[in-house]
């Protein structure tokens, strides 16, 4: 992958991550080098001790608080290295990782960073130190009291334990790194607020001129559609995908249930294949499937959207179904086995009556999701009302975008309500 096409394909965030990684590596190297220096100092001290007190047999040992102190001290030195812009580690190796384009940062920002460091990290260190039994206790193995409920000593609060402090530190680190990578910048939002308010205003004064009559400008594949038409198409897309998906997933789900397949080698194989299929196909989002099928059956065709929704529905419903099948009570199965039933008869007379209500509930739930997805699958060429949304958005025709969004909300709401009512009746 050449650098030039990476700029096209990749994201700015990825590049920022790379810079951050280089910086972290350089910092770590500094720390290691300072650690080595500290080791040398200790060695020399030891040597000196031995030559002066030669009559006393023994070496200099660090006191119990020494190790954390050395760790902190070397960390401190590495921090100063970074904030002064002199990397001992890079000099020691003789390679520069830092990109020259990064530029030099001002003294003020350096001071700010070092202040931040000294406020945050040592606090965590102290918390870590005081949180639980001190490190020396753990190293020598004494004083390790059980955490189990002890009538004489209340347990510490979750945050005050060493693990709590580690979690807090990791959380803060994640937040900080994420902030840097993503480039979170709330000033942009504020600065652009006025212009955005105009857009919001236009969207909130929706233009329903083409609600029932087709928009002459918006015409796809020699067919004219109004908003209402596309709304109906969207709902029908979801309906088709749900029905098709449920019909395909229903037989497959029994193959993916361990209690039905038994423990023979072919049973295992079928189980593994079907479950693997469910898992792989489920973790690729509907919309990505949409982009694949758009290549296959044509960009912007409704069929592409339906197929994408169907594939994901089969995988998701199949998993839910087969988990339900695995959860049936084994009593009726045993009874049918005992009466000399075949595997098909067991499924027909013992499993299906138990799982049918929850199958319906899952299918309706999936119908909900499909309606939501079918409103946006047009982004990758899947057809439906999203076609209109993205078209108007690209034209910058915000009143019409507003109208389409309102229709989308109405569709999703209505379908949500209907499926909720039906689910209540089934349950």
């Amino acid at each position: 992958m050449s650098g030039e096409s990476a700029a096209v394909v990749g994201s700015a965030s990825g590049d920022r991550l790379a810079v951050l990684a280089r910086r972290a590596l350089s910092f770590f190297l500094d720390w290691m080098v300072w650690g080595y220096v500290a080791y040398c100092v200790m060695y020399l001290l030891n040597h000196y001790w031995y030559t002066v007190h030669v009559d006393w047999w023994g070496t200099l040992t660090l006191p119990s608080w020494g190790w954390p102190l050395v760790v902190l001290a070397t960390l401190e030195l590495a921090v100063w290295c970074r904030s002064l812009g002199r990397s001992l580690g890079q000099r020691a190796i003789g390679v520069a990782f830092q990109d020259a384009a990064g530029g030099r940062i001002t003294v003020g920002r350096r001071l700010g960073r070092i202040l931040l460091w000294h406020i945050s990290v040592p606090l965590f260190a102290v918390g870590f130190w005081r949180g639980w039994d001190p490190w020396h206790d753990r190293v020598v193995g004494v004083g390790l009291r059980p955490i189990s409920p002890d009538p004489e000593r209340p347990g510490r609060r979750a945050l005050a334990t060493q693990w709590g402090m580690v979690a807090l530190f990791l959380g803060a680190l994640t937040l900080w790194v994420g902030w840097l990578i993503i480039g979170i910048n709330f000033q942009v939002l504020a600065r652009r607020a006025a212009q955005t308010r105009r857009i919001w205003g236009e969207m909130l004064r929706p233009d329903f001129r083409y609600f029932t009559a087709p928009d002459p400008v918006f015409s796809l594949r020699a067919l004219s559609y109004s908003i209402l038409d596309l709304a109906v198409v969207t709902v029908f897309m979801a309906l088709m995908a749900t029905i098709l998906g449920a019909v395909i997933a229903f037989p497959l789900s029994f193959l993916g249930a361990r209690n039905v397949m038994g423990f023979s080698p072919p049973g295992w194989a079928a189980y593994g294949i079907v479950r693997g299929f469910f898992n792989v196909f489920r973790s690729i989002e509907t919309i990505i499937w949409g982009s694949i099928f758009a290549v296959w059956v044509g960009y912007g065709t409704t069929l592409a959207g339906i197929l994408a929704l169907t594939v994901h529905t089969v995988a998701a419903l199949g998993k839910l179904y087969s988990e339900q099948v695995e959860g049936v009570s084994p009593g009726p199965l045993e009874a049918v086995w005992a009466a000399g039933g075949s595997r098909v008869q067991v499924v027909r007379h013992a499993v299906i009556p138990q799982v049918l209500p929850s199958f319906w509930a899952f299918t309706l739930y999936r119908w909900d999701i499909n309606v939501r997805m079918s409103t946006v699958i047009a982004l990758v060429g899947g057809g439906g009302i999203g076609d209109m949304l993205f078209y108007y958005k690209n034209q910058g025709d915000w009143p019409k975008v507003g109208a389409v969004v309102i229709v989308i909300v109405a569709i999703v709401w209505a379908m949500d309500y209907i499926s909720g009512r039906l689910r209540e009746r089934i349950a």
């Binding site: 409920p149 002890d150 009538p151 000593r153 209340p154 347990g155």
Partner: protein
């Protein structure tokens, strides 16, 4: 039955009526009685006869529709929410379903009995004074659960949980203790041990106990006075030994048989 004025009533209930809005159910109908300080009053009656509603009206967990409740000379039905809270901390309460926070430890639950005495910000931070913590441990000691103080409540048995509930009520130093069917979720042996704690609080700490019970035998054994409710009306008020077979049939219906709890 007409209420006779007492020499020195501590709690007086006058013409208490409670109507539930939904379904227009009359839970309590014109109920009047009085309790003296230090009494162990047992309220009996069938399920749905209004026992729980009566107890909850006394500390106004349920707002009565009409009528008055005088506690130590104060009409609690007229008090504002803030002053009602002041009164509530003198009234301990024990529940049928224990009403403990399952995810908390026993001592954590017991300490909540002290919340009425704590300033708001302090309660929010969970800074209970050291005396309160010691008192909580002492109360757990008293109900025999000192060694379970730091165990989560959902790992305790039913009887142990009710004892935690009693310790929580003890934290309030209650002058009145309301017990809403404290033993109906427990087995007979445990029931007696719980009732003995209530009796102890009544005798030694001088708390006025008002307990609703299902079983007449328990009521006879522990109560100093019994009142009986039927469909929200008072049908009996008198000493325990005054309930004969005819009275029993009147309270519990013709088909009832008395069951002894040993």
């Amino acid at each position: 039955m007409v209420w006779q004025p007492m020499a020195n009533p501590y709690l007086v209930v006058e013409h208490l009526t409670k109507v539930y809005e939904r379904g227009q159910v009359l839970a309590l109908r014109d109920l009047s009685f009085a309790v003296e300080k230090g009494e162990f009053l047992v309220v009996i009656g069938l399920s749905g006869s209004g026992k729980s509603t009566l107890l909850r009206c006394i500390n106004r967990l349920i707002e009565p529709t009409s009528g008055k409740i005088w506690l130590d000379g104060v009409d609690v039905t007229r008090l504002s929410q803030a002053r009602m809270r002041r009164v509530r901390r003198r009234i301990g309460m024990i529940f049928q379903q224990f009403n403990l926070v399952d995810r908390s430890t026993a001592i954590g639950n017991v300490l909540t009995g002290r919340l009425g005495y704590l300033p708001g910000w302090r309660a929010l931070l969970g800074w209970f004074p050291k005396e309160d913590r010691e008192k909580a441990l002492a109360n757990l000691e008293r109900v025999g659960l000192r060694d379970k103080a730091y165990v989560r409540v959902d790992q305790l048995s039913g009887g142990q949980r009710q004892r935690v509930g009693i310790a929580r009520a003890l934290m309030q130093d209650p002058e009145v203790l309301l017990a809403d069917e404290p033993v109906s979720a427990l087995d007979p042996a445990t029931s007696h041990s719980i009732m003995q704690y209530l009796e102890q609080m009544n005798r030694h700490d001088g708390a006025t106990v008002i307990a609703s019970l299902h079983f007449l035998s328990l009521a006879r054994r522990y109560g100093t006075r019994i009142i009986a409710l039927k469909d929200g009306q008072l049908v009996f008020d008198g000493p325990p030994n005054a309930i004969d077979n005819a009275k029993f049939k009147e309270i519990y219906g013709e088909d009832a048989e008395e069951v002894e709890v040993r």
